[in-house]
């Protein structure tokens, strides 16, 4: 936010409240992702259930932020930095909401897994998810500090996540081959891996929004892309 404060105090307060809600929502998503990963790697259904239950809280944040944005646009007609604050809050909240959903989906699948996971697979999952968690934390810090350079770092690191996802996918495929009788678990694991990657993509979207928020311009150029995902062929 700009250094000087608004002449109209209530306007200032509304923008600050919007800002705080994004941060709170982001922290809730961080928690959800953290717990979802602990749950799947340690077969801990208590954490998985918490994530599923708490997703409602994240959804409520999205609704609240949307209402705040609509009110700001209708009643304050924000301009310049305020306009960018308002519009990016809306977009960031929708990415965060998706992150919450994906964490919930990971947790639902966790509850459906029948067997313990082999050590290699757990390690591969932890590697990619640790990276994604770091990215999510950094992007929230970038938002808090209004730092476009931190946002660019997050954006560039997405490549690494794509690569780690591919390695993880390879482990899942190996698992599928070795456990032909347990296609259910294998399928869940494919989706879990894909979900983690998509959380990374939403994090990158948020980084782009922060860059726009701070600089007033869009991040130029193609997203850095790692090797093509081998299983789904999705880009």
């Amino acid at each position: 936010m700009s250094e000087a404060t608004h002449t109209v105090k209530s306007y200032e307060e509304e923008l600050q409240s919007l800002n705080k809600n994004i941060i709170k929502m982001g922290v809730s998503c961080e928690e959800a992702l953290g717990k979802a990963i602990i749950a799947i790697t340690t077969r801990d259904s208590e954490n998985a259930e918490t994530v599923i239950k708490n997703d409602e809280k994240i959804d409520k944040f999205e609704t609240l932020i949307e209402q705040q944005v609509v009110n700001l646009i209708a009643l304050r007609q924000p301009m310049a930095i305020d306009l960018r604050e308002t519009v990016t809050a809306l977009k960031i909240s929708s990415d965060l909401e998706r992150i919450g959903d994906l964490a919930k989906n990971i947790s639902k699948r966790t509850l459906l897994l029948n067997e313990n996971l082999p050590k290699n697979l757990v390690e591969a999952l932890v590697r990619v998810s640790t990276n994604v968690q770091k990215q999510l934390k950094s992007v929230l810090d970038a938002y808090l500090d209004r730092s476009s350079s931190m946002a660019v770092n997050v954006w560039e690191n997405d490549e690494q996540i794509d690569e780690l996802t591919n390695l993880c996918m390879q482990e899942v495929i190996k698992y599928l081959k070795e456990h032909e009788s347990n296609l259910d678990d294998g399928t869940h694991l494919l989706f879990v891996t894909k979900n983690i990657e998509r959380i990374g993509d939403h994090t990158t979207n948020i980084a782009e929004q922060i860059y726009y928020l701070v600089e007033g311009e869009y991040l130029e150029g193609d997203r850095p892309k790692g090797t093509e995902p081998i299983v789904t062929g999705e880009k």
Binding site: S2, A4, Y11, P78, M79, A80, D82
Partner: protein, 258 residues
């Protein structure tokens, strides 16, 4: 007019300083106004917007203590030159003020006054045509065509303002200066004037002073921000309202001025 996709410059102010007695009101203003575009001038009260607008048709001449220095070049001609024909200049550069100020005469006479003194009509029929087209362009014709010989002061505020616009365009000016033309109007009349401005820019270059940020954003393609007699920032309206260069501009348009 566009040349190679770039708008031509209609007016350029070069190193303009304005003084009221010893007090300097404008400081070294350099500003180019694009042809057939709407340029909005914004800034806090007393920053010199009206003073600048009055430089463009030498209306400051009528203020004794006012002294204008620098060049105002319109169509490659410096209007501050001694040889400038001020009457012709004001025919080319029309003006609409904050308060609608129709003459205490009939609607018809309000419009025909300018064309008469500029000798623009050879016959009653030609004058009728000028009155009709001017009122049509000002989107007032339908409302007043049956009462052209009633006094202009009998119209509503919004109608009076459109009458003043019709009066300004009756002499086919190249440039129309508007100083807060909607400040006394309700939202509907304001919307009508804004729609009109959009229409008028096809044939005229328009400069509008406004205190409404939303109005500046809605009607203009370019915006200039004045502060304490200086032009702080000038550029496309889009840029000024989404991502201004200067912090003062940002503070002003976002309502953060101390």
């Amino acid at each position: 007019m566009k040349k190679n996709g770039v708008n031509m410059i209609k007016i350029s102010a070069k190193n303009v300083d304005v003084f009221y007695g010893k007090k300097q009101a404008l400081f070294n203003i350099n500003l180019e106004i694009e042809e057939n575009q709407v340029t909005a001038l914004i800034g806090p009260s007393g920053c010199g917007k009206s003073t600048f607008l009055r430089c463009l048709n030498r209306m400051n001449d009528v203020i004794d203590i006012c002294n204008v220095q620098g060049e105002i070049v319109i169509n490659d001609f410096n209007i501050n030159d001694k040889g400038c024909d001020v009457v012709r200049l004001r025919e080319k550069i029309g003006m609409v003020f904050q308060k609608p100020n129709p003459f205490p005469k009939t609607l018809y006479e309000n419009i025909s006054y300018g064309p008469t003194i500029h000798g623009m009509a050879q016959s009653k029929q030609e004058m009728d045509e000028i009155v009709e087209t001017s009122l049509k362009k000002a989107a007032l014709w339908e409302e007043v065509k049956d009462r052209l010989h009633e006094p202009g002061t009998g119209l509503s505020g919004g109608q009076q303002q459109r009458l003043c616009i019709a009066r300004a365009i009756s002499v086919q000016p190249e440039v129309i200066l508007m100083d807060e033309p909607c400040s006394a109007l309700d939202p509907i009349a304001t919307a009508q004037i804004e729609e009109l401005i959009d229409e008028l820019k096809k044939e005229h270059t328009i400069i509008i002073v406004t205190h409404s940020m939303a109005q500046a954003a809605r009607v203009s393609q370019n915006t200039g921000f004045f502060h304490l007699g200086e032009l702080i920032e000038h550029g496309s309206t889009d840029k000024i309202f989404k991502n201004p260069e200067n912090n003062k501009t940002q503070d002003y348009i976002t309502g953060r001025f101390g």
